[in-house]
């Protein structure tokens, strides 16, 4: 019991005395996940918007597939990305395994379906509402996409934050493709897993506290954004 208390005070000290190892891990985590979410946004938003606006055969099945990908177990995603990047895999020559890039790739695979699926939902609803009005104003289907994306901006920010929340809290995929190498690919979640198993609870607790802090901030931002989106959406609905 006494040991636990001293681990706690050690954890607090780590956070507030600016332990360089701790903050390097936090920074890497943020970097990897922010990058991953940005790339997911670049892929997922256009894909989601296209699925919402375009009409082509197989569209329904694509949407089902995308929704299924959203619930894919991260460990399996990690395994698949590992197989792609491993020496004998199709992308082996790039030698990306056990680098932050590999972790970004894994997170992109995890987050893109979320961003695309949420974007599709939001844009499809808005497109239905706007469709006749935009046609009346002479806006073509294709030209309506940027209009819809812009007008759905608040809901889309919510989607990105949800994606970020999933990316930063995820452990299974990044530990497989990143390898949890000290000073290279150690992020918050993988460090917590490792340090806890080693009995170094102070560092694990400190990182856990920071991770929770990030989660709380992200969730607060999601609530604020969706509240505003709702306020704007509900009037005259």
């Amino acid at each position: 019991m006494q040991g636990l208390a001293s681990e706690f005070s050690l954890a607090v000290a780590l956070i507030f005395e600016g332990d360089s190892e701790l903050w390097a891990i936090v920074l890497l985590s943020l970097k990897v996940s922010v990058f991953a979410v940005l790339i997911s946004a670049l892929i997922g938003m256009p894909v989601g918007a296209a699925l919402a606006v375009a009409r082509f055969p197989g569209r329904r099945s694509l949407i089902v597939l995308m929704n299924a990908l959203m619930g894919f177990p991260p460990v399996v995603v990690g395994l698949l990305v590992y197989l792609m990047l491993s020496r004998s895999g199709p992308l082996g020559v790039l030698e990306l395994l056990y680098t932050p890039t590999a972790m970004i790739i894994a997170q992109v695979v995890l987050v893109t379906p979320i961003v695309a699926a949420l974007t599709r939902q939001v844009i499809e609803m808005l497109a239905e509402e706007y469709s006749e009005q935009l046609r009346s104003l002479g806006v073509s289907r294709l030209a309506s996409v940027p209009v819809l994306l812009w007008d759905a901006r608040l809901a889309l920010v919510t989607a990105l934050l949800a994606g970020f929340g999933r990316a930063i809290a995820e452990v299974g995929a990044v530990i497989i493709v990143g390898g949890n190498i000290n000073h290279v690919t150690r992020v918050m979640t993988t460090t917590i897993a490792l340090e806890t198993s080693k009995g170094n609870l102070a560092l694990a607790l400190a990182l856990g506290a920071i991770l929770i802090g990030i989660a709380v901030v992200v969730n607060a931002m999601v609530s604020a954004a969706s509240l505003r989106a709702e306020q704007e959406g509900l009037r005259h609905a």
Partner: protein
Amino acid sequence: MRDLLCDMTKCLQVRGLQIRRNGRALLDVADLTLDGPGPTLLLGPNGAGKSLLLRCLHGLISPDQGRVIQDGAPLGPVHTARQAMVFQQPVLLRRSVSANLDFVLRRQKIARDARKTRIAELLTEGGLEDKARQSARSLSGGEAQRLAILRALATGPETLFLDEPTSALDPSATQMIERMIQRASTRGVRIVMVTHDIGQARRLAADIVMMQGGHVVEHGPAKQVLDAPESEASRRYLAGGLVT
């Protein structure tokens, strides 16, 4: 003879138009020619097909049978681009009031400064000058309707369709909108407008189209239709009786 006349003048015609859903004809207009200077007002009970007819005239619905002819040619993108419509339920973009106007002005490739001036003019015309930066979605029902009308006018249309544009407006706003519509009409904009307000029809209309059950039951000069309606349906509608 009438067709020939219409080839040369500005006119909007409907020939054998039918819209069917589930085997029922929602709209069935054999022949309608709007060739006067207008404004033309569409009257008729709920569900008569007024909104559907406007959508057809604006090219938003393609009819199952028959066609719409403008200035002698089948209605196409060239025509609809010069039309504007104010919907029964206005759809405003999730942007500020002035951004809603800017959206249509930008599409006309108008320079930034000119757009600013035009937006200020429009807002003053619609009495929304102090709402410029407010989110359009937070406007009151009547304010939203006014903005929708201003936005339609901002497209500089040759034909303006209005679907009950003053249904949510207070008397002074109604008067303001009626003046705007009259001014546009005087400038040569063809106005086709739905209303349930018989007083408004009397104030604005040059000619009146009376609809019921998907059909045009009467079309003629406003005074004649209002004061001496030919059809039983018109008489009953105007008397406020039940039209079945």
